[in-house]
Structure formats: C-alpha cells, structure tokens
C-alpha cells in the first residue's frame, strides 16, 4: 500500500571529468513508496531547479530496465538493494523512512566520470566493434528456417543475449573486469550455428580489446553475477575461456 517517506541523500557531485568530486547532502520529503527511485531523483532535481541550483546529472532513458542506460551505485550496490533489476526499476518501497541513502557513479578506470553520476561506457562499444558480431552483410542470406537450432541452445543463447550492457558487472568487480559482459556476447554467438564459424577469432579479438581498454582480469569472485540485473550466469565466462583457449591453441 502507498505511504510516504523522508530521506537524507548523499550524492556524488562532480563538475567534469578532470574536476574534483565531493558528496553533497540533500533532504527529500513525502516521497511516495510507489514512486520509482529515478522519480525520487526527479523530485530532488525539481527542488534544485526551484532553488536555482544545477540539478544532478544521471543517465537514464527507457525507465523499463532494458536500455542499460541507468547506472548508480546505491548504498554500496550497483542498481541498489533489490534483486534482478536496474536502478530505473527500483522502487521507493525498498527504503525506510528516515534512512540515509548514498548515491555514487560506477567506479572503474575504464568508465571515466563525465559529470556527477554519469560515466563514459564507450569502452563497451569498442569491445563489440572488435568482434562482437557475425560477419554477414545485408542481403544474400539463407532462409531463416534453413538451419534448425535445437531449442535448448536457442534458449541459452537468448539467456546470454539478454545482457543490457549496463556495466554493473564491472562496477561490482574489485578488479573492474568486463568478463561477464564479454562472455555473454561470445557465448550467445558461439551457441548458434550462425556465430559458431567465427567463435575463436571473436573471443580472441574481444578479450584483447578488453585488456587494452584497461579492464582488470577476472579472479572468479562471482560478484558480477550477483549484481547483474539480467541474471547473466558466470557459466558464460567458462565458455569464453574455452573459446579463448581454443583460439590460442590454434595459433
């Protein structure tokens, strides 16, 4: 049932990439527990505009948990205190009246801060550009039903393909490794006959790009899987390692 709560917010503010950041404290009151976390941020920003202050910059777009644009480290957890969701799907009923909530950006060397809570995740695009695709041009492809695909393989590929590229896995990892993200794409395409052909090359290209961009190595802590809003399994990391090994062996 709806009720309202008051909160103290400690929010990371930083003017630009090279500037020094700091926490600022704000109060918000009468927040409906039926509103979403980002709606609460909207309310705070309306308040700030009213005081002629610059509102807090944060990334968001779809507000349905699918575009991967929202981020935020809330009380020490990427995407906050609820399971299997993104920040935009987090609702205020998860918070208690009078609570202090700390809000920070993703912190990882490969994701530099742009402003306040916004970070630059173009490194993910660069990893995909290095090989996260099937090399086919438009047109001239076979009929969609020409190659049957066993349903379990198709389902597992879909599980991996559900990754939204949000970067929570990197933010959750003490090494800032991007292995969960990379393995999800390698795994999806390796599971399908269309992607199998280039599997080894793909794994190698994506992993070396990841290393080059300053993401850390994977030490199997499993923190990524716990915080991933789309429940991407670390089993994909094992598949990636296998494909990667194959590519090294065939060199």
């Amino acid at each position: 049932m709806e009720k309202t709560i008051n909160l103290t917010l400690k929010v990371w503010r930083q003017n630009g990439p090279k500037e020094k950041g700091r926490f600022e404290t704000y109060q918000v009151s009468n927040i409906s527990t039926d509103s979403s976390f980002l709606e609460m941020m909207d309310i705070l920003n309306e308040q700030l505009v009213g005081e002629n202050k610059e509102p807090i910059a944060f990334d968001h777009d779809c507000r349905e948990g699918i575009c991967g644009m929202c981020s935020l480290y809330i009380n020490g957890r990427p995407h906050g205190p609820d399971e299997d969701i993104t920040t935009c799907q987090l609702h205020m009923r998860k918070f208690k009246d009078g609570e202090t909530v700390t809000i920070e950006p993703w912190r990882a060397a490969a994701f530099p801060i742009i402003k306040d809570l916004i970070v630059d995740r173009t490194a993910f695009d660069k990893i995909i550009a290095a090989g996260g695709y099937v090399s086919v041009n438009t047109g001239g492809v076979p009929d969609a039903n020409a190659i049957p695909i066993a349903r379990p393989a198709a389902e597992e590929a879909m599980d991996a393909a559900a990754c939204i590229g949000c970067g929570a896995c990197v933010a959750a990892c003490k090494n800032s490794s991007a292995m969960l993200f990379v393995s999800a794409k390698v795994s999806q395409l390796a599971l399908l006959p269309q992607g199998k052909v280039e599997a080894k090359r793909r794994a190698k290209a994506m992993v070396s790009k990841m290393d080059e961009l300053g993401f850390g190595g994977c030490t199997n802590t499993g923190a990524c899987e716990v915080e991933c809003p789309k429940s991407i399994s670390i089993a994909h990391i094992s598949r990636l390692n296998r494909e990667y090994l194959k590519s090294r062996l065939s060199e």
């Binding site: 003017n15 630009g16 409906s32 509103s35 979403s36 709606e39 909207d42 309310i43 309306e46 505009v49 009213g50 002629n52 610059e54 509102p55 910059a57 968001h60 777009d61 779809c62 507000r63 349905e64 699918i66 575009c67 991967g68 644009m69 609820d82 299997d84 969701i85 799907q89 009923r93 742009i114 630059d120 995740r121 173009t122 695009d125 995909i128 550009a129 290095a130 996260g132 695709y133 099937v134 086919v136 041009n137 438009t138 047109g139 076979p142 969609a144 039903n145 049957p148 066993a150 349903r151 198709a154 590929a157 879909m158 393909a161 559900a162 939204i164 999806q188 399908l192 269309q194 992607g195």
Partner: protein, 645 residues
C-alpha cells in the same frame, strides 16, 4: 490535387518494387567512397541503414543522443515483428499481410508503400537470423510464431518479451562491424539541432555535443532522419525519456511537410498512472492479449467496492464479469486492433466500471494458467510479469493485472515519397520518424518491421537513385555561409533560452502541455475541445518562452537545456496535432472525433472528403501553417468499414 509527387512506380501492385529496382540509378563502388551520408538516429531504422550503407561502401556519419547506439528507444520493443513467412501454414501471404496492414491503418496509408513493406518482411527475418538474433524456436528447432492484434494468422516472430532488444542488438552489431571497418563514424551523445540546406538541397546538419556543449557542423551529400516518434509531446507515454520530435520540427521549419500529425496511437495495455510525479508509462506488451482476457465488473456496485478496496477482483464471480471485448467483438475478441481496444476501455471506465483509481481495467491470466499451466505462461511472459510486479507490487500470476491505455506511437511524421525522400531533395526520413506505412493506426509488431524494412531493404536502394546524380558534387567545407549561418541561429536560440531565467522548470511546463494533449487531443476528440487545445497550447508556448528557468550555462553538459530545447519543439508539434485533428472531420484509426461515430460507437470515416494525407507546411513563426493534401488513390483494395465483429 496533390502538390507533391509521391513517385509511385508504374505497374501492378506486386510488380512496383521490382520495377523500381530494375530501373533505378546506381552508384559504382569507386564513387560510393566519395559520397558522405549523414544518418541521424541509431534505432532499428538508423542502425540498419547505417550498417547497410557502410557495407555498400558509402562514407557514413551516424548520430545518436544516447551514450551508445545500442540504447536507442527501439531496444524497448517487447512483443515481436511481423513477416509473411507463413511458416505455421495458416494461410498467410504477402498479400494478406499487406491487406491486414492497410485495413488496420483504416485505409489512410499508401497502397504501394504498404505492399512493399509486406514484400520485404521475409528478408528481414532471414537477415536477423543470419546475424545471430535468438528468436524463439519450437522443439523441432524451427522458428516459432505468435498472434498479434488485427490479424487472424500467426505471423509474429519474437525473442521472449525482448524482441526489440534483440533486433536492435543485431543491427547494432552489424553497425559496430562497420565502425571497426572505418566505413561508419559514430557520434554518440550528439544531438541534431539544425539542418543545413544549400541551394535547396539538404547538405548537412548542426549538432550539439551533449558532453561539451559545443556546436559542430557536418557535411553530407544526403541526410537521413531516423529519429523516432513524437509521442512524448504528451509528457507521459510509453516512449523512452529522451525520445523527441526535434529533428522533425527542424525539418518542418526548413520546408519539409509534416504529414498526418494527429495520427497518434494509444496503446490499450499499459500500467495505469499512479501519481503526479510519474515520469513515464510502462507498456505491457500486446502479446499478453494472446492469453490474457480483459474485463471489468459487470455491476457498478462491484466496481465501486473494488475501488474502495472492499472487494478483490478474484472475488468477483465469473457471471459478474464483463469481458467487454469478447462481448462486443466476438470474431477478434481480445485481439482487436489497439485503437478499438483502447476506446472500449475508456468507454467502460467513463461509464463508471473502471477499477483501481477508476481509470483501469483487468487483464486476467487465470483461464490461461488453468488451461496451459503456470510454467507455459512464465516461459511466454515471465519478464513482463516480473516487470509488472516490480512496479505495482502485485503478483499477476495470482491477481489480474490492471491496465489502461497510454500514448505509444506516432503514425504521423515527416512526409516522404515512395523513395522515403521528403519534399526537400537529399533529405530522407525512415522508421517512426516518417509517416509512410501505418495510415491512421499501426498494427502490433509492424513498427519493428517497418524500421528494419526502411533501413536494410529500402533506403540502400532509393538513396542511390538520388546520389547517382551527385557523384560530381565535391565534399563541401563547413565554412560555407549556409553552415555558418545555421550555427549562428542555433547559438542565438540557446542563448535566448538561457536568458529567460523565469520561475518554471521545464518539466512543470511539459506536464501542463501533456495534460492538455491527453484531455483534448487524446482518445476522444471533438471540435470544441480541439479549439480549446489550440488556444491553451499557444498560452503554454508563451509561458515557456517567457517563464522557463534553466540553471547552468551552454558550456558543458546541461540536461535542463537539452530538455528545454526539446520541449520548445514538442509545443510546436502539439499545436500542429490539434490543428490537424480539428481539420480531419472524420474518425479513422487512432483519430477518434466524437462527432463522427456509428450508432454502435465505432469510428466513422468520411472517405469522400478525407481520403488524403494531410501535409502541413511551415509558414513562419507567427503565421498559421498551410495545409496541402496528398489524395490517397486506392487502385487495388476497396475502402471498407473495418469490421472486427
């Protein structure tokens, strides 16, 4: 008489596109490298066009306001994509898909465009599968299909409830492959703020880098707008927060026609509004209507008791429920097209039978769960049920969902001819940004089809036909006076916005606009209300330009400035929508004029007077826009009254 040439090719319907392709001009490979194409947008339409044109060897520059092309609004599409494959062998064909689409659009789209759309639909599925899109499959390993509204065959391909995501990621990956190859240059967090014309042709754009605030000039031999729809004019809609109509307004101000602005789609199955700080409305995919049954209490006192929290929906006996879609439309039942389903929900709620806040109806899965088992329902809609539960805090496996209509999609948009070219030479529009294929109402799973058809299979041909005459045009420097002047105009506009320093936040004014739109230009429209809307929107415009407050400055990232600039354009679109709705004295598809309905409350078209595309021409800041009409000539199908009974 039409003032523009829609360039429909000669010949029988099924031959037109082949005829076109057989006779169009081509550009040879060495010349392609010398030609720059600007594509604005990385949704299904933009990404597929950029990837395909890059593969062909053109020099492509691709822009998006998001931080990555993969985050374009198309990612949010849930339910599926149509194609005429007829894999289930249930009688589907290219003609039937064409016919359903043109009928679904209430006979307000061009025959030739719609036929081409149906014709290329099958290639889209082939393409996506080749890219590794993990569509749902049957146990035999072949592709699975589901049904969508407005069709009696099963022709919708899907990837769980994330079809848009998977299709967009397929296109995005193809696009990133071209970025890697150097044929596409990607500009993220970059917003088009002006279009540059040189000697009457589109030759470039001005963008604002959303991180640095810097204005930049870009030259292109041709410019493609694939910037999506303008549903956010209503503030609350199912669109992503950043979806906007600004590129369309820039084109309009430069002389491009804005077609059918009043044609907006209200989606019947969205999570109802909960409070005044609501920022957006969440769609529950139409695919749910395959298995969910829509109802309200049959007795008013039950509805009242439910609203007061004294009764639960599960306590209402079967015979006290009114499955009003099944009652009114026995042939299509819960699968009537969206406009019909939305109006029926409004009708019940207005009559006092609504649940929740009074503006909601039930979507119930109990009989489907009893029939098929919970696990089957979970496999089909698990992520949607989870999404619902996270938002509403209610378990839809046990209690029926509550839903209500919301603004979802805009059929209107930039006017284009058969080649997807606007009336400005060299300026093209694709995807939801153009008006071309859905007439007065879009069928479910047809927007994804259209976006990818435009980008993979139409533009790559038609743009060549234009560029073939441009191979001798050298790249222009952006020091030309047209670029300098365009940039200056943009700079002045931003400075003006920042100088207002009034009392109202951007969002507060946008919400005010949204309410006017929903009340008077929403599901039920009438002359009196529309006149009021025109007046109110003019007042809101004045309020905005004299009383908006934007903190910060134009250097660096300034989210309020971005929003203000887009709101200024939404206000223009809102006025245009109201004006167009007022002009169209008939009901068709999503445009329902209360004065024009049958005795049974169905939409009443006036084919003798309104079988045209309304094309609005900008006449200057304070002048009224001028209306031109493109007559819709139906050579192959008969305009009938839609009947889903």
């Amino acid at each position: 008489m039409s003032v523009f040439n829609s360039k429909i090719p000669e010949g029988p319907l099924a031959q037109k596109w082949t005829n076109y392709k057989d006779h169009q001009k081509l550009v040879n490979p060495s010349n392609k490298r010398k030609l720059d194409v600007i594509i604005v947008g990385t949704g299904l339409a933009g990404a597929s066009a950029a990837a395909s044109l890059g593969e062909m060897g053109f020099n492509v520059k691709n822009f998006t306001i998001q931080d990555s092309p993969r985050r374009a609004h198309s990612i949010a599409a849930q339910g599926g994509i149509n194609a005429a494959k007829n894999y289930p062998n249930d009688g589907d064909s290219v003609y039937r898909l064409f016919y359903d689409t043109i009928k679904g659009g209430d006979y307000r789209a061009r025959e030739a465009n719609v036929y081409r759309l149906a014709e290329v639909s099958n290639s889209i599925i082939d393409q996506c599968v080749a890219q590794g899109v993990p569509f749902a499959r049957e146990y035999g390993g072949l592709l699975d299909n589901r049904s969508f509204g407005g069709a009696q065959v099963s022709r919708t391909f899907y990837a769980r409830g994330q079809t848009g995501q998977q299709l967009l990621l397929g296109a995005y990956q193809a696009l990133m492959r071209q970025v890697n190859a150097g044929s596409v240059k990607m500009y993220t967090r970059n917003e088009l703020v002006e279009i540059v014309l040189v000697e009457g042709k589109a030759r470039g754009i001005i963008t604002r880098d959303l991180v640095t605030g810097k204005l930049e000039r870009h030259f292109g031999h041709a410019v493609v707008l694939a910037t999506g729809g303008y549903g956010n004019t209503f503030f609350l809609s199912t669109n992503a927060m950043g979806s906007n109509g600004s590129a369309a307004v820039k084109a309009f101000h430069k002389g491009a026609m804005f077609a059918n602005p009043c044609m907006a789609q209200i989606h019947p199955t969205c999570i109802p509004v909960h409070g005044e700080f609501q920022s957006k409305l969440t769609l529950m995919s139409e695919s749910l209507r395959n298995d969910g049954r829509i109802w309200v209490p049959a007795k008013k006192e039950d509805a009242e008791a439910i609203r007061a929290g004294k009764l639960k929906p599960t306590q209402i006996a079967e015979e006290d429920r009114d499955y009003y879609l099944e009652r009114r439309y026995p042939a299509f039942g819960n699968l009537v097209p969206r406009d019909v389903a939305s109006r029926a929900a409004k009708e019940r709620c207005d009559a006092g039978y609504g649940v929740g806040t009074g503006l909601a109806v039930y979507l119930d899965f109990k009989s489907a769960i009893d029939r098929l088992g919970k696990d089957v329902i979970e496999a089909r809609y698990g992520n949607l049920f989870q999404m619902y539960e996270k938002i509403v805090d209610d378990n839809p496996y046990e209690t029926p969902m509550m839903i209500y209509p919301a603004i979802h999609y805009t059929m209107g948009g930039i006017w284009v001819d058969y080649e997807l070219q606007t009336n400005i030479p060299g300026l093209f529009a694709a995807g939801e940004a153009n008006f071309s294929d859905h007439g007065a109402n879009r069928l479910g799973a047809s927007a994804l089809m259209q976006g990818l058809a435009d980008g993979y299979f139409v533009l790559p041909y038609t743009i060549q036909n234009y560029l073939a005459d441009d191979i001798r045009t050298p790249r222009m420097t952006t020091e030309e006076k047209e670029f300098v002047e365009a940039e200056k105009a943009v700079k002045d506009r931003f400075e003006k916005l920042l100088s207002i320093q009034g009392q109202r936040s951007v969002d507060s004014i946008h919400k005010e606009l949204g309410l006017v739109m929903w009340d008077f230009v929403g599901m039920g429209r009438n002359a009196e209300g529309l006149k009021k809307a025109v007046k109110r929107i003019a007042e809101i415009k004045k309020e905005f330009w004299t009383n908006v407050r934007i903190p910060g400055n134009k250097e660096g990232m300034n989210v309020e400035l971005e929003k203000a600039s887009r709101l200024a354009d939404f206000i223009e679109i809102g006025a245009l929508m109201a004006r167009d709705a007022l002009d169209r004295e008939e009901s068709c598809g999503g445009h329902f004029r209360e004065e024009y309905q049958t005795g049974e409350g169905e939409a009443l078209r006036q084919d003798d007077k309104f079988a045209y595309v309304s094309c609005w021409e900008y006449k200057g800041e304070d002048a009224e826009p001028a209306l031109h009409k493109e007559e819709l000539v139906y050579e192959f199908v008969e305009m009938l009254q839609r009947n889903y009974k």
